[in-house]
Amino acid sequence: MSTLVKIKIDEKEYEVPRGRYLLAICQENGIPIPTLCHHESVEPWGGCRLCVVEFRKKRWDSWWTELATACLYPAEDGLCVWTRSEKVMKARRTILDLLLARCPGSEVITKIAAEHGVYQTSFAKREGEDNCILCGLCTRVCDRVGARAIATALRGALKEVSTPFGEPPPDCLGCLSCAHVCPTHTIGHTEADGKRTVWGRTFELVRCSGCGAASVTREQVEYAVRTKNLSPEYFVKCDACKRRESAATFAGLLFDERKGGEGPVGPTGSGPSHE
């Protein structure tokens, strides 16, 4: 059981578990905090700095007020936080101004910037077509999935998300987790004729024996079988078909019951239930 501590956010008191990150607390209490590099499936990272808040606390002998990222700041007793102070809004505006200069074509960034009163960048625009803001979500999610196929390359102003040597990544599963978490939708991928292409690599999709729909790659199936101890049978049919089948089984059982059969039995023959 974690201890509860009293903190103040925007002059209002809250009782929260010690050590819980401020961003989570704010989200739970409906206090809006913008963020671009945070996702519940991975550890907080503190890269985009958009979730900065101003806080005041006692350090050694004196009081300090400073900006800190809400995603990484743990709640402690007596903490005072302001989420929309002038200092906070100024920093967020400059950060959005910088991001807008980095990807002037991004609709997502343009929208958030406009919400903060930044309608165009005051800085020199970057040349380049992609809208990558280097939030690191794709690489962190890829690590989390276990593929570890992409990572950042280089550093500083030249930093980029890259596959090894910029070539089709050997460890990629084609699962598209990276593309789904990308806040600026900049990871391009296509799907056609039972094939999926992402990061310059084309994957063959496994077709459902029931409906013929293609949803997972062969590499994903192999990876899940290898690391998650799933039977290859599990992937023979797609989730939709499995659901349909189990519904039919269930309906059949009910029908049998009405006819005076045995009691209801759980669905069978479709492997472990999904989710």
Partner: protein, 159 residues
């Protein structure tokens, strides 16, 4: 580019614990042995250290000590530290770029010479400083830097 002889890689890997913490140390030794990081070595290095090829690539490109392309037989590094900067390292670099027709960071087409800048070699008292294959030369003047790099003696050189 011909495939490098990777037999020495095993000897390097044997010297280092099979753990993530060895990654940078292994890459240092590979760089020293081959004067670059041959891409053929990445998978093996990754496997030894328990990290993916993407992580090896990420590390190899993050740190300045590593190079993905073979370095020239002679490595010339002009120190761009603060003391060297205020004592005219820029002039030395301009002069070398002109004389060797090379941009910093590039290797001559014949593979003989690589020109680079380095952030500081700690010979600040002797600024400006040029490192040629690991040997430091202090108080280098624009008029003598080309001769020095080409292997000649400096006018003011000791002895």
């Amino acid at each position: 580019m011909k495939t490098p002889d990777l037999t020495k890689l095993d000897t390097i890997l044997e010297r280092h614990e099979a753990a993530e913490r060895s990654l940078i140390q292994v890459l240092q030794d590979v760089q020293k042995e081959y004067r670059y990081l041959p891409r053929e070595a990445f998978e093996k290095v990754g496997r030894h250290c328990g990290v993916s090829v993407a992580r090896v690539y990420s590390t190899a490109t993050f740190y300045k000590a590593f190079s993905l392309v073979p370095q020239g037989e002679k490595l010339v590094r002009v120190c761009a530290g603060t003391a060297c900067h205020v004592r005219g390292a820029g002039l030395l670099l301009d002069e070398l770029e002109r004389a060797l027709s090379l941009e910093p960071g590039k290797t001559s087409p014949d593979g003989k010479i690589t020109l680079k800048t380095v952030n500081c070699v700690g010979a600040c008292a002797m600024a400006p400083c040029v490192m040629i294959d690991g040997e430091a030369h202090g108080n280098v003047k624009p008029g003598e830097v080309v001769t020095l790099v080409k292997g000649g003696r400096r006018d003011a050189a000791a002895d």
